[in-house]
Symmetry: none
DNA sequence: GATGAATGAGAGTTCATTCAT
DNA sequence: TATGAATGAACTCTCATTCAT
């Protein structure tokens, strides 16, 4: 009569796992991997200590799960972006801008996970580095491929290395994300993207004589 | 086997402190602040536990010392770069390239410290964030000022935001550093810098008609 | 040899806390606050290191708990003693004696706690001094008030300072406690109390003829 | 020319030892045995770490030396008091008062050492208990002997136990010392001693008319 | 499934003591 | 005789993990 309760409503395992994953994401995002304690996670998930270990083998395991879930989301997004048609020079700069804005928005909407991925995965524990390196490589390859296509279509200078361009793009993107977007929810993403695209465009624009008619204009 | 150890090699305090600082840098670079243990540091420095605390009040204190020492070096370097004369458009791109190369080389030569700065400072522990933010801001201001001067001299497009440009430059720089230079001692820094400068130049080059006479100038 | 230990005996939290409190009291009583190690406490309580910190936030915290628990007991006892009726001169000396005996017995029954209170609180660490000073003051006030009542009833000389008397009484009491009661479980508390009360009442002045009718009697 | 100095003026060993002893007394008095660090002592004595161990084998050893030095002083004082002539009842109470005052003054003048003796020696570390117990016993014996002499001279009631009286006296004395004298340099020692002596002599029994011929007067 | 009391290795830090100079 | 850099055992406290219920 006293002991009658204590045990919690059993939940469908998938649901409970999901709750734990969300709690973990929230905690990792705010404290980082090492400072985050299992105690923090179970406190937020409102489950008992033991319950946590029913769903994840270790603290490391949840972190991996959190990271991988987000990696998957990013890869999805990456593939979704391939849907857009190549178009011609006329709309290219606008499309570059929209692409950047879309990415910035995506990460802004997943601030928490982004913090984890960018801060933790890029280091501290070598065990988590591999997954991040792979994701990064995927992104680089993706953008490099895009540059390559644009070069083939003569929409981008042919003398530039597509791989290196991809890296430079990622670098600029990271910086905007860290310096403006993640730290300020009210950041003007469209403006940032426009500036990046403008810079990117005039940097990658094909050679001079074509340019006299400028990229914005449609060729006659 | 037992007696062989238990060294006792008194060293001038400055020397010992330096050795500890180097050991700490090495450890922090590889493990990050939280994962790094004082045990790791004394193991590498080959001193007893107590010796460490003879020179640094706490783990936090060594970390700060490591970071500040490097921050100071960077600020020195930053000021040293102001010495270079402005020059004209003809040599600008080459100078941009050389500047980037110089920086890459500087960080490549301080691989360990760089890892600490880039990984920890970008955070995890809010106590260390401030110093990094300030340094970053110093760098941004520095480059923004340079862009402003170049704009005044009509060597850079006036429509670009100098501050944002500075951020983009830093982002690209970080990426090259992380993706190529820090991970590969044999990275071709000159080539990387040349590509970055090429990209940067064509992005920031003043408007078109001037460009026909532009720095590269096609031979007639 | 290895497997034999590693018990794991979950207990109701209140019970475990109590056990730890008792172990801590025992240890503090014998070693004093500073010399007592958490290791000593867990060894005696037969729990793991972590278990201790499950119930007390710090070594300081257990000590405070031990001290406060005992302070509370003493204050209770102090109030309980006010129940006794004032009575007349005839029974006063007997009542003084009984009061002292009761106190001695009380402390004899709480030997361990008493050692902690009397040794630590009287100092070493200023953080713990306040509580002791307050308790002591409570006791002084209590006894001073009693002397004042007795003076009003003309049962005690009016020229004496009640406060100072209270201090002197406490001093004698402490001494009996330390010199006889705490160190010897078989001490004859009744006899000690009788002697103290006799002295308290009559002082050391020789029996003059008037006094043969002694203090118990009222002068005719 | 740089290394010429560092070594300090060699001092006569006895003098240096004395300086260290004084520094140690000062430190122990303020921090207690455990909290006091050898560092504190050498800092105050302005000698190097190793020098300390040239004069004392260990921290424990200095403490013992400090304690014994003071014990010796006390025993000297104790013997000095035996010089006073017994006198008759007329001046006895005044002599009791003066004796108490003299002791209070003695300890007030050696506040530092007194703190060490009373706080540390009365415990914490069983190693130091013996010396204190012996000193205390010496004092008890001394005062008990005096009471015995006074009883023989019929100046003190014969029914009282001299030993117990000695303890009670010591207890009251300790209390005045702790509660008033040690904590307040401006304490009115004469008044305290007068009250103690008055109480010691007369107890708390009300003034009966017979007593008006009381102890101060010589019986007719 | 779910609980939470219990565990213990290991973290950062202190300090009495030693000994090469 | 005097120095002070060096030592390492011992301390308090943390937290990922286990398991009896």
């Amino acid at each position: 009569m006293l002991a009658m309760s204590r045990r919690r409503t059993p939940l469908p395992p998938d649901r409970r796992r999901q709750l734990l994953l969300e709690a973990a994401t929230w905690v990792f995002a705010r404290k980082g991997y090492r400072a985050a304690a299992v105690s923090d996670i179970i406190l937020r998930a409102e489950v008992a200590r033991g319950t946590f270990y029913l769903y994840f083998a270790s603290k490391q395991a949840v972190f991996l799960a959190v990271v991988q879930a987000f990696h998957d989301r990013i890869r999805q997004e990456l593939q979704a972006m391939d849907a857009a048609p190549p178009g011609d020079a006329a709309g290219l700069k606008a499309r570059l801008r929209d692409g950047v804005a879309r990415w910035l928005r995506f990460f802004a909407e997943h601030r928490d996970e982004t913090r984890v991925i960018l801060r933790e995965a890029s280091s501290i524990d070598p065990r988590f580095e591999k997954g991040y390196a792979e994701l990064r490589q995927t992104a680089v390859s993706h953008f490099a491929a895009r540059y390559r296509r644009l070069q083939a279509a003569r929409l981008v200078r042919g003398t530039l290395s597509p791989d290196l361009l991809a890296h430079l793009l990622l670098g600029m993107f990271d910086e905007l994300l860290n310096a403006f977007v993640l730290s300020d929810p009210a950041a003007d993403i469209e403006a940032l993207a426009a500036e990046l695209a403008d810079f990117e465009w005039n940097g990658i624009a094909p050679d001079v004589e074509d340019r006299t008619r400028g990229p914005e204009r449609t060729a006659p």
